[in-house]
């Protein structure tokens, strides 16, 4: 069984590019606060979603609709409507995180397949099986805090399909459990679908030295010629006690292409690429590479590798929590 490549699409053009580049599955969201990449200029209105899904289906690809923020008290109808519209648009599944919304979808849209978002941070087999029994969840996107052996252990104890991130931005905190962004800016992944929002970013270049601030907090200061990572809070340069540096995480991005065979042995169904905020050119290149990798693996050919470094943040890569020493 070829491992499934699950690709991001921030725009209809990116969706078409991903499908043409060989994505088995594309995930995307509506252009509002119901999805965790609620960035300016991104995402799909209802017509675009319907057309995008139709395009993907014509080419044999699936589309998952992410409705993975936590509905605001008093405004749950916005999120509930998104579920109904995803079903009408022909989505192959919805990706949900909020228990209340899962409960709603289970009761009112029983035939719409439900995936558990990484934002639910379901990090062990007990809770994954609980989501399956309670809400009929068919697949779980695993949080980026687990090692490969831990993923294998989870798969040995559950029938729920697992999907893991293999490329792109890396959350160092358990997803869906982080309020650092709203602490600094008032906008959070859970409530607003944004982390370290661009609206609160301020770059100032002086004599080649570039300061990047978020909500007034200095996150990075880079010298002339150094790469300029986006000022994501948890990847900033800070000091504590006597030490200074990237105390939480270096400005690296995840690349687990070399671990694909191990992830397959660990029972993983699908490989997920992060980056709905990235361009269609990026999406297509990454998809093409990962598709080649899983096809090679399936055919018993050697894995191509190392083609993706240029596309990553600050040009540095990590395998993240998949290797236990990361912790």
């Amino acid at each position: 069984m070829v491992m499934e490549i699950v690709c991001p699409a921030g725009t209809p053009a990116a969706l078409r590019a991903a499908v043409k580049a060989g994505a088995h599955t594309v995930y995307c969201g509506f252009n509002d606060e119901t999805n965790a990449r609620n960035f300016p200029g991104l995402n799909f209105n209802r017509n675009e979603m319907r057309a995008g899904i139709a395009f993907a289906h014509e080419h044999g690809s699936k589309v998952l609709v992410a409705i993975n923020t936590f509905p605001r008290a008093g405004d749950e109808a916005i999120w509930q409507r998104a579920i109904g519209d995803a079903e009408i648009c022909g989505a192959d599944a919805v990706i949900l995180a909020d228990p209340g919304l899962l409960d709603y979808a289970t009761r009112t849209h029983p035939r719409l397949r439900r995936h558990l978002s990484v934002q639910a941070a379901a990090a062990n087999a007990d809770v994954i099986n609980f989501y399956a029994e309670t809400f009929g969840v068919k697949r779980v996107v695993l949080p980026r805090v687990l090692s490969v052996p831990e993923i294998a252990a989870i798969n040995s104890e559950t029938d729920v399909e697992t999907e893991v991130f293999v490329f792109g931005g890396l959350c160092v905190m358990a997803e869906g459990r982080c309020s650092m962004s709203s602490y600094a800016t008032g906008l959070s992944p859970n409530m607003n679908g944004v982390c370290s929002p661009a609206s609160h970013v301020e770059y100032r270049e002086d004599q080649g030295v570039l300061d990047a601030r978020l909500g007034g907090y200095l996150i990075h200061r880079v010298e002339r010629g150094e790469p300029a990572p986006y000022p994501t809070l948890c990847k900033g340069c800070f000091s504590a006690g006597e030490k200074a540096g990237h105390l939480f995480e270096d400005p690296v991005s995840l690349n687990a292409e070399k671990l694909i065979p191990q992830l397959q042995k660990a029972g993983v169904t699908a490989l997920k690429i992060e980056g709905r905020q990235r361009s269609k050119s990026y999406v297509a290149q990454v998809v093409r590479n990962f598709r080649m990798a899983v096809d090679a693996l399936d055919a018993g050919r050697p894995m191509p590798e190392g083609m993706l470094a240029r596309l990553s943040e600050g040009q540095a890569m990590t395998t993240g929590a998949y290797k236990k020493t990361w912790r």
């Binding site: 921030g10 990572p229 986006y230 990235r278 361009s279 050119s281 040009q315």
Partner: protein, 180 residues
């Protein structure tokens, strides 16, 4: 040191020199007409700007002595070329080839930004909205220019032909397959 730096051609001095002397007012008018034509053919582009549909942008090709001030004006865009720094809420600076490469989907904006080939100043949210909207629009500047007619068509077509000839820049959208 980024790889992409090696890949982005610099605009040759000849074009830069020409732009130092030509009158900019007629060119601005032509580009305004051109941008309205694009707006008409790609209404989604301006819808995608959302709350930034009236934000003033400055696009600064760092290898040219001019900047392009773009006011989306809620779908009725205005373009003005100036020789100063220009004024706007958001500024995107980089070699002309990088800016055009973004429009044509040949480059990834984030990657150019990480490598500092592109620099964003001012309203970062607005700059990202513009980047994302343009990425979705799948524009082909040569194709759009060729479709122009009327008194303003010639200057735009001549400018694009000049730019292509002088720089070797790709102003025609590469075929999807050719990119990868």
């Amino acid at each position: 040191m980024s790889n992409s730096q090696n890949l982005i051609p610099q605009c040759p001095a000849a074009l830069a020199a020409a732009l130092r002397v030509v009158p900019l007012a007629p060119l601005s008018l032509s580009l305004t007409v051109f941008s309205r034509k694009i707006a008409k053919n790609h209404p989604d582009l301006f819808q995608r700007l959302g709350e930034h549909s009236r934000t003033a942008f400055v696009l600064d090709p760092t290898d040219l002595p001019i900047v392009l001030c773009l006011d989306p004006n809620d779908g009725m865009p205005k373009v003005k070329l100036t020789r100063g720094r220009g004024t706007g809420a958001a500024r995107i600076s980089g070699p002309l080839a990088a800016l055009i490469g973004l429009v044509h989907g040949a480059f990834d904006g984030d990657a150019l930004f990480f490598s500092r080939d592109l620099v964003i100043e001012g309203d970062t949210g607005a700059a990202l909205a513009l980047r994302n909207a343009i990425d979705d629009a799948e524009l082909d500047l040569s194709h759009e220019a060729a479709a122009l007619s009327g008194p303003f068509a010639r200057p735009v077509q001549r400018l694009i032909a000049l730019a292509e000839r002088q720089t070797g820049l790709c102003l025609t959208r590469p075929e999807d397959v050719a990119i990868w």
